[in-house]
């Protein structure tokens, strides 16, 4: 038995000292690192004016936004000059109800239009002006007098009635109402994405799901030229409010940009990666130069490339794809060369021991082992480029990104924003699972 194993001698004090000190040091680090981070966060909180932000933040905007995501409004407008009445969804021409098919809550008899906003709120337009009955408050009555508007309403006026000589607007939970010399308008807010499938001019609009299924299955053609199903699909596809066809095309264009850019970059970067890897290219200056080129095109960023390329190629998806291609050639070149430098030499040596030349060593010793790494990087970039292509698309005027940024910038069609955002999230998730699936399929097992 080895005697040295269990000899007990007193611990040298110096050792106890070293160890306790090292624990003290670690303890200090354990406190210092979080403290430093907190300090930095505090500094940025000041630099970013977090306190001021808290005051400026408009949470009611958030509420509006959230409700706008899922509601739509219908405008009931009378032109006060010619007396014409229009009822339209979101106030858009393409959402206008035909005069003979007004929603059931708008009733016209001669000059008088009655708008039932529900729960006792009723707006009436007549030849004298307009009246708005608000439950628990009373009747707001407006009539024009020459260039001015005369308002009759229970006093004192609440804050939700906004009055000037030329304009009266009323905002209630049931709906919004405004009266100017030129027109009177009522807005009713309702839940849901209206006209999502069929616009009002479509023969299918306003029909329930069962009715639609019935139509789809029945033999009586609405349009003798085509079956009801293809007619329906066509109506949805060309929906003027939501433009599903354009949106699908935009999604496709976004994915196309990402796909072309990523794959093109990978194809270009593979040979360059070998040139930039120290174990394959002994010429240090060439390696160094190439790596700086990679750094440069990566550092410039896709968005700037987009602008540079816009001059030469004009707007369009190819410009976007080229911008992605250029940026990613930089990223891939760097990553590929690093992957090549990190290969396992055992396999190469095994192939080398049989007397294979350098080309064959690369083919059998290197390619099989780097393929998974490269492929998984390429697939990962494909997924993340789908997201970048959204942004780049906004600049080159294509893809879902353009639709989205425009919808956000106008700040009114929030339901469209919600629709596009949902689609983008689904698209990226789909690309994510697709690339995951390919990764599993191609890398883990064939």
């Amino acid at each position: 038995m080895t005697a040295s194993a269990l000899t007990a001698s007193p611990i040298p004090p110096s050792l106890a000292e070293t160890v306790t000190k090292s624990f003290a040091r670690k303890r200090l680090m354990a406190f210092a690192v979080p403290a430093l981070i907190l300090l930095y966060l505090a500094y940025t909180a000041v630099a970013f004016d977090l306190a001021g932000l808290a005051q400026r933040a408009k949470l009611d905007n958030a509420a509006i936004l959230l409700s706008d995501f899922v509601t739509h409004k219908t405008h009931v407008t009378r032109d006060n000059r010619d007396g014409k009445l229009t009822v339209s969804v979101e106030g858009e021409g393409k959402g206008t109800y035909p005069p003979d098919r007004l929603p059931e809550w708008v009733i016209t008899t001669g000059e008088v239009t009655t708008i039932d906003l529900g729960k006792g709120s009723v707006v009436t337009y007549d030849s004298d002006g307009a009246r708005f009955v608000v439950p628990d408050y009373g009747t707001i009555d407006i009539r024009p007098d020459g260039d001015r508007l005369i308002l009759n309403a229970p006093q004192p006026l609440p804050s939700w009635i906004n009055v000037s000589d030329t304009r009266v607007s009323v905002t209630t939970p049931a709906g919004r109402f405004s009266y100017t010399r030129s027109k009177v308008e009522t807005f009713r807010y309702q839940f849901g994405w209206e006209l999502f499938f069929f616009t009002l001019d479509s023969p299918f609009s306003g029909k329930g799901p069962l009715e639609l299924v019935g139509l789809a299955l029945s033999g009586d053609r609405i349009d003798p030229a085509r079956s009801n199903v293809s007619y329906m699909v066509n109506e949805v596809w060309t929906n003027k409010m939501w433009r599903h066809g354009d949106v699908v095309w935009a999604l496709f264009e976004t994915i196309l940009m990402a796909f072309l850019g990523t794959m093109g970059a990978a194809i270009i970067a593979l040979p360059l990666g070998f040139v930039a890897a120290s174990n394959f290219n002994p010429l240090a200056p060439v390696r160094f130069g190439l790596r700086r080129v990679f750094d440069f095109i990566r550092g410039v960023d896709g968005l700037i490339w987009t602008i540079i390329l816009s001059r030469a190629f004009g707007p369009g998806p190819m410009t976007g794809a080229l911008a992605i291609l250029i940026t990613d050639t930089g990223s891939f070149g760097k990553m590929f060369s690093e992957a090549l430098e990190n290969i396992d030499d055992k396999q190469v040596e095994g192939v080398r021991s049989t007397g294979a030349n350098s080309l064959l060593r690369a083919r059998f010793g290197v390619i099989p082992q780097v393929t998974p790494v490269l492929l998984s990087q390429v697939l990962y970039y494909l997924e993340s480029n789908t997201r970048s292509a959204t942004v780049i698309g906004a600049i080159v005027g294509g893809g879902i990104g353009l639709l989205l940024t425009q919808a956000i910038q106008t700040q009114k069609d929030w339901e469209e924003v919600a629709y596009y955002m949902t689609l983008i999230v689904l698209m990226v998730m789909a690309m994510d699972s697709l690339s995951g699936w390919l990764r599993r399929k191609l890398i883990k097992g064939e």
Partner: protein
């Protein structure tokens, strides 16, 4: 002291441990042998509550430790130290920290996060390391140590727990012969000097024979042998291992060969 009753663990339809029952009264050194897949590890893991049993009881001083839950189960774990074949230390941390992990159960999460160990505990850890002959390694990173040293750190962590029972799952299987001997000696010494029960899964009969008071042989989850090392004949061993006569063990022994002549000369010299 330890009363194992009908302990069973199923994986799917297969019983990895099948109605194992035995009783140990004093602080014995118990060896469990059996070939790969016999259920040795699974049994020890159930004792330490790393794996749940399907049914059965393990009574320790009147408590069924298999029935404990949550904090109580963790408290039991702190009394029942486990030593693993692969050491299962935190390789990037220093040796002393790894030993101190033995008392984690008694420290709050916050204290652990900020590395707040009482000085007394640090000193105790160093004393234990010293007892195992590796005190001077205390400030090193664990991964920098040799296998035998790492396993001694694991034993030190176990001792830090001040456990009633030490479980060792093939403690020397990853070690070279020299280190294996040091580690087994250390375990034996703890068993004898401190009077702690040691239950060790062993790969090799030689070792079991040399260190254990009692040997349990398992095959396919069941106990097929339970007795003293002396009762362990080649026939019994072949039974336990299911080896057939054609397998010649000496071809792959890693030991330096016993040149009988040389040894005899040595023995003669000692005896004379």
């Amino acid at each position: 002291m330890l009363d194992v009753k009908d302990v069973t663990r199923m994986f799917g339809t297969k019983a990895a441990v099948d109605r194992v029952s035995f009783t140990v009264t004093g602080p014995a050194f118990v060896g469990i042998i059996g070939r790969s897949g016999a259920g040795k590890s699974t049994f020890l893991r159930m004792m330490n509550r790393l794996t749940d049993a399907t049914f059965g009881q393990i009574m320790v001083d009147g408590t069924d430790i298999l029935a404990l839950r949550g904090a109580q189960a963790r408290a039991w774990q702190s009394q029942c130290a486990m030593i693993f074949q692969q050491f299962n230390l935190v390789p990037r941390m220093d040796v002393a920290s790894n030993v101190l992990h033995g008392i984690l159960n008694r420290r709050s999460t916050m204290q652990t996060m900020f590395n707040l160990w009482p000085r007394a505990d640090i000193i105790r850890a160093l004393e234990i390391l010293d007892r195992l002959g590796i005190a001077e390694q205390a400030p090193k990173r664990t991964e920098a140590l040799s296998g035998g040293q790492q396993q001694r750190v694991a034993i030190a962590r176990a001792l830090m727990q001040d456990p009633k029972i030490i479980l060792a799952d093939e403690p020397i299987a990853s070690l070279d012969p020299m280190n294996a001997q040091i580690v087994m000696d250390a375990l034996k010494k703890i068993n004898v000097e401190d009077g702690r029960m040691v239950i060790a899964n062993l790969h090799t009969l030689d070792t079991a024979r040399r260190y254990c008071d009692r040997v349990i042989g398992m095959r396919d989850g069941r106990i097929v042998f339970d007795g003293t090392p002396d009762q362990l004949s080649t026939g019994v061993a072949r039974d336990i291992y299911g080896a057939d006569a054609s397998f010649n063990e000496s071809a792959t022994s890693t030991a330096i060969p016993t040149d009988a002549t040389a040894d005899r000369v040595y023995a003669d010299a000692m005896l004379s």
